[in-house]
């Protein structure tokens, strides 16, 4: 049985078609990351799955049941899921009562309600804050309360719209790591909207890329990031280098790639096999080697000149000119060891296993 099954879903706001989803199915226990730029239709898809928005066209099944048109039937299905919005949106009552809200709406009460609420307050580190008013909570605490308010319902489908939005870096990291543990334990079927690659890889089994309301890529999270379907998806997924190259088929399904005067072989899973292509290489996969050192098997070396080196988070961002602009990331010691400064001639290198070809 699928938890959710959608086919040909179309949602329009006025004349604008916000979502045009050919197909989506969710297996029990699966965590799906919905990725896409602002306005791609992620939140609309989430609201449609939460039965808070009615599609103009298409078929939607939840928990093996076709979603009915009448409000009573929709409410019955809605009570088997929970949705958490981008902002905590806590109500004007204590933290305990906020977390208890969904249970009370379903007619629960008494000791069982208290036990469940306390369990989830504690699970989200809010055990001591039950009697506090939301106005007195920090952003992170309010966010946790809004998550506890959904988890306490033990929903069959959990929909999270950017659960870490507006938290600082430290808050994001801590909560993401905790949520990973909680999701793994609770084994809830979850759809989560995020912009962040680290969070997607940490939390999701599967990733779906939406661009302009359409499903552009859908697969295991790791392979979506490793092998974007096309240049637009690659750009959105933050692949810094899309290097123009030519591909031609070689033996055993492999691909010969010509890039900047170099020819090398890529494996059968490299992507597009013929014609003008982009070689997608992430900045962290660009390495620097000392001139004259021995060539390693499976690595491509390209002479380049450093044009700019700037601190960029923990690593340095290194911009290179190699007949095309290339961006790399280098740890501080790499910058020192290779003397990476603007104007320096270097050899950059990448592993043929770390690159992917997309159509140009």
């Amino acid at each position: 049985m699928t938890v959710a099954l959608a086919e040909g879903l179309v949602v329009s706001h006025g004349r604008q078609r916000v979502l045009d989803l050919d197909r989506l199915s969710l297996a029990p226990g699966e965590t799906l990351a919905l990725l896409g730029p602002n306005g791609a239709g992620k939140s609309t898809l989430l609201k449609t799955l939460a039965l808070l928005e009615r599609p103009q066209q298409g078929r939607l099944e939840l928990f093996g049941t076709s979603v009915p048109a009448n409000e009573r039937g929709r409410l019955a299905l809605r009570r088997r899921l929970a949705m958490v919005f981008q902002d905590p949106l806590l109500t004007d009552r204590t933290v305990f009562e906020n977390v208890a809200l969904g249970l009370r709406l379903r007619g629960h009460g008494g000791a069982e309600l208290r036990r469940r609420v306390m369990h989830w307050l504690e699970r989200f580190g809010l055990g001591a804050l039950g009697s506090r008013h939301p106005r007195t909570l920090s952003g992170g605490e309010a966010r946790r309360a809004s998550l506890a308010r959904a988890f306490v319902l033990e929903p069959e489908l959990l929909l999270l719209d950017e659960p870490f939005a507006s938290l600082d870096v430290h808050g994001r990291e801590t909560l993401a790591l905790e949520l990973e543990l909680i999701l793994r334990e609770a084994r809830l079927t979850t759809v989560l909207v995020t912009h962040d690659r680290t969070e997607s890889l940490l939390l999701a089994d599967r990733a779906l890329v939406l661009l302009a309301g359409r499903r552009r890529q859908d697969g295991p999270a790791r392979s979506v990031f490793a092998a974007p379907a096309d240049a637009e998806v690659a750009r959105f997924l933050g692949v810094e280098n899309l290097l123009p190259a030519m591909a031609e088929p070689a033996q055993d399904g492999r691909v010969t790639v010509s890039l900047s005067g170099q020819r090398f072989l890529l494996g059968p899973a490299a992507g597009v096999v013929a014609g003008p292509v982009y070689l997608a290489v992430r900045a962290e996969d660009i390495h620097f080697v000392a001139p004259g050192s021995t060539t390693e098997e499976g690595r491509v070396r390209i002479p380049a000149r450093v044009t700019r080196v700037v601190p960029y988070g923990v690593p340095y961002r290194v911009e290179l000119e190699a007949g095309m602009l290339v961006v790399g990331l280098a740890a501080r010691h790499t910058v020192d060891r290779h003397g990476l400064v603007a104007g320096r001639e270097v050899i950059m290198s990448f592993d043929v296993g770390a690159v992917h070809l997309v159509a140009r």
Binding site: F85, T91, L105
Partner: protein, 231 residues
């Protein structure tokens, strides 16, 4: 000065002695304005909530009309309702003119825009995504409506207070449609005007002290209700 202190003394005497005529006028005022406020709340709160939550063509015009209605002069309302209920008027067959029901109708017209407008403003101040979040947690439409009212209760109770304040204190409409008939349609405000006209300043002051006292008492009760959970 003596006039005022005498008036206040007289008021206390009338209240403490439970003067039947004063009590009758007071109860009628409370009943009529209470009923008008209740009807305005029953109609105005859902209407205000719907105006705040829904988007439809002409919404701005409706809101504008309601806001304009918040300042309706009671005399004009009284004149309009009189013309409607007058024996030869379009609703004359109802035979309501010079009855407490006629005053209630006029007062509903005065209080309804106040309750509707302030409720709409209060609910519009809430986060527009809150209704969806409540539904996303499993609230039915009715539960979501009640929760939203709870969230906007400071404004909703203020709306009730303003509506009640507007009708308990108005005199023009009550006078015109009620006729200030003793034992039938005489309320605190019309009685005060009458006694002042007759030169019975002590009774007039007594009646206004009762009117102000009542308004204060009800406003206090509503304030306690309003502030109960907001700390």
């Amino acid at each position: 000065m003596d006039l005022i202190t005498d008036g206040i003394r007289q008021a206390l005497r009338l209240i403490l002695s439970g003067n039947p005529q004063v009590m009758e006028i007071m109860w009628l005022s409370l009943r009529v304005s209470g009923a008008a406020t209740l009807i305005s709340v029953l109609l105005g709160v859902p209407l205000g909530a719907a105006l705040a939550a829904r988007r439809f063509p002409g919404r701005q015009v409706v809101l504008g009309l309601i806001h304009a209605g918040m300042g309706l002069p009671p005399v004009a309302v009284g004149l309009f309702v009189s013309l409607m209920l007058w024996r030869s008027g379009p609703l004359g067959f109802l035979e309501l003119i010079y009855s407490p029901s006629a005053i209630i109708i006029a007062q509903v017209i005065i209080a309804l825009p106040v309750v509707t407008g302030l409720t709409a403003a209060g609910i519009q101040q809430l986060d527009p995504r809150l209704p969806l979040q409540l539904k996303g947690l499993g609230a039915s439409r009715w539960q979501a409506f009640l929760l939203l009212l709870g969230e906007a209760r400071l404004s909703v109770v203020a709306a009730v207070m303003a509506g009640f304040g507007a009708v308990i204190s108005e005199v023009g409409a009550s006078m015109m449609v009620g006729g200030n008939i003793l034992h039938h349609t005489r309320v605190l405000t019309t009685a005060t005007v009458l006694e002042t006209g007759k030169g019975n300043f002590d009774v007039a002051i007594a009646l206004s002290v009762i009117l102000v006292g009542l308004t204060f008492l009800i406003a206090m009760l509503l304030t306690l209700l309003q502030q109960e959970r907001s700390g």
